[in-house]
Symmetry: D2
Subunit: 389 residues, 4 copies
């Protein structure tokens, strides 16, 4: 990636790579070093304005849609900023650090993992805007194009279950408190919806039948002309998709990705099923051990395989649930600036569960609540079907 690649902002929802790199460092500097490292020398006082994301507690900041105007500092200077702050954090931890500082360092690491994922999704978006369609990483030999086996259905009894993080180990504030939830009996598909199934949905007029869609989703179709997942393009030799490895043919057996909540919901309606609730999903996932790190260089979801049972819960695509992102019972945002992390976004978004090819593997867990507005498509977002018993 060049300095230019790392500087440009391709839409208001995305941020430049350079901004991600600097913002995560700013988080450590602001939340930890300024408060706990007595003799810390601020790297550059202007960075507080440049790299604050949305913390009202911390003050004025570069407007989000103008993050791409920051041609300076350069990528090199930002790497120097990162080294400066990393060294100071190491110094702090080497000493007799305040437990509150250690907790914030842990939060900062998880925060940085989130931005590692966003950095990839935002670069993909940027490169998809360019007529020359650069590849973030060179394409391997094209994957074998295959058909997926039909999905199996795994049953769950329901009843009163416990969900939410129990506080052992790290979690974001919105994952708790752990609490009781009441589930009716349900079934989950053992695998994700595939590109092949999505092509069938398209062939049967899925994008042209308003009765399959939420009203707001249909309005998106009329306004934007959606007729396939984001990044798909029809060419002479069939559908292809822009990926982090450049333009690639669609693999029918691989999970569909880059679909909005609206599309996921319409597909489920078309299929006579529904999306799972986040409680159903978490309850089902709780018993699974998370697969050891998939190849971090893969960058594309792959077909389901292996033993019977729930597959592809993690590491392929985020899975839309039917649950709006709302506070759990007795949820209170954390004190101070980090209280702005999640709570103030609990409106107008839907929860996604699991993790994707872009998620750092150690960042995935069964209680994790990802969330995006229902029209967004640039994340690695797909779906798994559910049904009532």
């Amino acid at each position: 990636m060049s300095d230019a690649d790392a500087t440009v902002q391709s839409m208001a929802d995305a941020s430049p790579a350079k901004w991600h790199l600097a913002h995560t460092t700013w988080f450590f500097e602001t939340m930890v070093l300024k408060r706990f490292a007595a003799d810390y020398a601020v790297f550059d006082a202007r960075f507080n304005f440049l790299f604050n994301s949305y913390y009202e507690t911390i003050g004025a900041r570069q407007p989000r849609p103008k993050r791409g105007m920051i041609t300076r500092p350069s990528l090199d200077e930002i790497m120097a900023y990162r080294a400066h702050v990393d060294a100071a954090i190491e110094g702090l931890l080497d000493g007799d650090a305040d437990p509150a500082a250690e907790e914030l360092v842990e939060l900062g690491c998880h925060h940085e993992q989130q931005h590692q994922e966003l950095l990839l999704t935002d670069i993909l978006h940027l490169f998809a805007q360019s007529p020359v369609r650069p590849a973030y990483r060179d394409g391997s030999a094209p994957e074998a194009v295959q058909e997926a086996a039909p999905a199996d259905w795994i049953s769950f009894d329901g009843g009163i279950v416990e969900i939410g993080h129990d506080g052992r180990g790290f979690s974001f504030d919105c994952e708790g408190p752990r609490h009781r939830a009441l589930l009716e009996p349900f079934r989950l598909a053992d695998r994700l919806v595939t590109n092949g199934e999505w092509l069938e949905f398209m062939a049967e007029g899925g994008y042209r039948d308003p009765l399959l869609w939420l009203a707001d989703g249909w309005a998106q179709i009329l306004e934007h002309g959606w007729a396939a997942p984001f990044y798909w393009e029809e060419g002479d030799s069939g559908w292809r998709s822009m990926t982090l490895r450049g333009i690639q043919p669609i693999d029918p057996a691989a999970p569909v990705t880059h679909v909005s909540y609206f599309e996921a919901d319409a597909f489920a309606t078309w299929a006579g099923k529904r999306l799972p609730s986040e409680a159903e999903w978490e309850h089902a996932a709780a018993s699974l051990s998370i697969a050891p790190s998939s190849d971090p260089r893969r960058l594309r979801p792959r077909p389901a395989s292996g033993e019977p049972g729930l597959k592809q819960m993690f590491g392929e695509v985020w899975q839309w649930t039917r649950s709006p992102f709302t506070p759990y019972p007795r949820f209170k945002p954390a004190e101070g600036a980090v209280g702005e992390y999640n709570g103030k976004f609990m409106c107008g978004q839907f929860v996604l569960r699991g993790s994707s090819v872009a998620t750092p593997p150690e960042h995935a867990r069964a209680t994790y609540r990802n969330f995006f507005p229902p029209d967004k498509r640039w994340q690695f977002s797909g779906l798994r079907l559910a049904e009532d018993i």
Copy 2:
């Protein structure tokens, strides 16, 4: 109301009075007469285009933001249309009507009650746009301005409760199926939040502190400059408000109304409380008998009064809950066009419970789910506080 008053559309969310009058009649004509009245003569074939609201099943229609272009038919012609259809419905019901038709007539009556309320809220909005500020009905002598007594708190044990409509008597499809819900112990305020309490919120900078607000709500403040409830105006003699009885002084003891979900939520945060969930609200309301029809000519919410216990659950202002409008477990939309009634709006809206001064009293019930987007303010919408025990 003149023909002109009944024709103009004051914003895309609102409809002209004439349109409400014709659309509800169109509903009977389309859903009942065309299907069940063998020899029914359509009043005017063009009305199907003019007065279809959003039924994709039924086809093309006047775009919503252009409902105000329909200067013709006149109000008189629409009254004739109503008489024509009313007579045909009576004829149908006098005979040996199909039970499906009778069910749809009942639905049509409840549908019309909904529009009776919207007609009032939309006229208020229209008259508020006019510099001459007409009154829909002349103001009575100004109400005595008083202070409200502090709220009492009513406790509920929680546990597994049943909510949703049980199918005896009429309900909209989204009110069911009746199902189990799990509640943690909670308390509800015995009365609604008052204008006096809202003035205190304003005086303490409620509209200026971003930490009280959801991010999307704060964006509304920055964009629109919200600093008081909708229709409020500050004058030399204090705050006044546009009402269906013209400009009136604010009564501190009366419930606040015309606030958005964002404002209701920020107020609750400021007060150290929260909004109730819809399940909590319904559980609390289930045991109440709905007050006999309040004076339908009142048109303004009035202060709480009477015996200890939950007050003002119905007939004053709709009460925002913290619950997004989502399908109940095993919910299926009705078959046919009426299946578009509610299900396709289950995204991006919040549930309001109770009923308002504009609601026909017989339209209120404990299971009723009203819903609006979180930024809307032109309905009679207020709030009641809740807290965890």
Copy 3:
């Protein structure tokens, strides 16, 4: 026209009929009676806010795009306002009126004639928005559909000529001062461009070839999909057009109307000609006597006919010139509020010359400068071709 017809505003550029009726009366009240009629009793003090158009000198006013919110006063009340002011003006003129007052009354009459025309064009626009397409006046038997004879070309020598109003009789300030202009030899078509010629332009791809268009005009095509004059619709039996007499077939021999400057300019380029300058047009028109009033109930342009020589200069459609609306040499706006009448609009508009079927015949003169932005199409605007010799 009903009260409703007279109240609705169909777009920001158009005004309700009621507003036109009240505004022209307000002009007399404000510019004449308040200043010169000592004992004049203002009809309603609120009307100054409601019916001021754009006079900054006079103060705050109803925002232009919200003129359609004025459902009250009713049409009847506005007619009473007109009678009240008319009587006061008559009283003033019966007495020994100040010559300045008399001059302003004359200006007010010409102002009212302008609004008589706008009232017609705005009603046509409103009725064209309505799916029931009302006719302002019932259609006579359809006109015989005919072919026009080819245009003849009338030559002019050029040289130094005088244009602009000489101050004898009434004129608007922008028509003067009379001044010298230098013309090169040129020719004008003896008649207007016809619908038949326009159909040929369309058939040869006129709306699809960017090289014929000004860049801003081509942008309009891409944004709005222009493919024919405004109000034209293609049906099974060919092109038809919404008119003040309802939907009517296109007459190939009649002048094309409801075209923008961009379209007029593109047509001229396609034809290998150009639009005349306003000085050329006025010089050519100066020697003509204006035809006695055409039938004011006609409301549709008619084919050219009669003796050789310049035809259709007045009373059919306004004719776009290539001249931006700029001040004549030594132009100074009038003193006081009426100085805002024309001068402040001398930017971004093009001059049209002649007059249309909607213009009161006594309002037409050779020096008259009408002006509209180049993308506007709702006026009766057409074109006449010119060329260099």
Copy 4:
């Protein structure tokens, strides 16, 4: 300038530096090499899409507002593209080149000079968006802040004069044909309007009095809150301005720059004067010899000085005229793609005359017609006053 500086697009009106560099080279490749250099090997076939500006004749292209998405090719690759094309052009000219090719090479050189200026104005705009406010070139010691002497007025007799380019030496097509124009007697100020005079206009409420402004200009003030020239900021020590040398104090004696046509016109009205027409300006300038190249590294306009007579006609700031950009009599656009150069923009723009500190000195001439829309402010645009005698 870094690769990042050269890549970002700060608004739709501006282009990235890299784009300017590549587009001017593309012009040579497309207009000259592809047509006249038989064995020319296209550098990269994708560049035709990337670097076409607005030539419909040549086909599809990157949408203007998305020029900033082109992070690749890098600045280095674009410099290689330039070297490749330069070499091919040199090879072509060394041989026995077609005179048509030589003419197009000359046009390409002048085209490149235009973009040299735009490159500077666009970088200034980009750097002004950045909170760190980079300087394109380091600031010299601040200039002495001085007062300007009052303007003198130079008289001209008027009469029939000739303006426009006579075809000897290079000119753009819109500068001709040379033709007669009729001027009334007039006077021009001998120098440009200064910052000091502009401060006086501001102090006397120039930005707050609607009667000074064209209606469209006043609308800009209401929408954008204009209260000073573009790039001006008020600080504790008075007004400062973002410049190519970073933030600098305002020099009262230097010409005001970065004002729109609307502001220039309002200032002239306030001063009781007017802007010159382009014919007046050109007639006055025709007798002057253009000053030898001012210091190309100055980058800021400087105060008037020297002998009596017209000063600052070239090399300081472009001077708004009151003339809309329209075709001269008998103007015909050039044949082929280069015919799209100027003619299609003859609508909605005003002519500026002279040249600025950003103009290559050899690019200035008395017949030069620069043009921009009346609300644009990011060019080095100022004004000189005129009056009628």
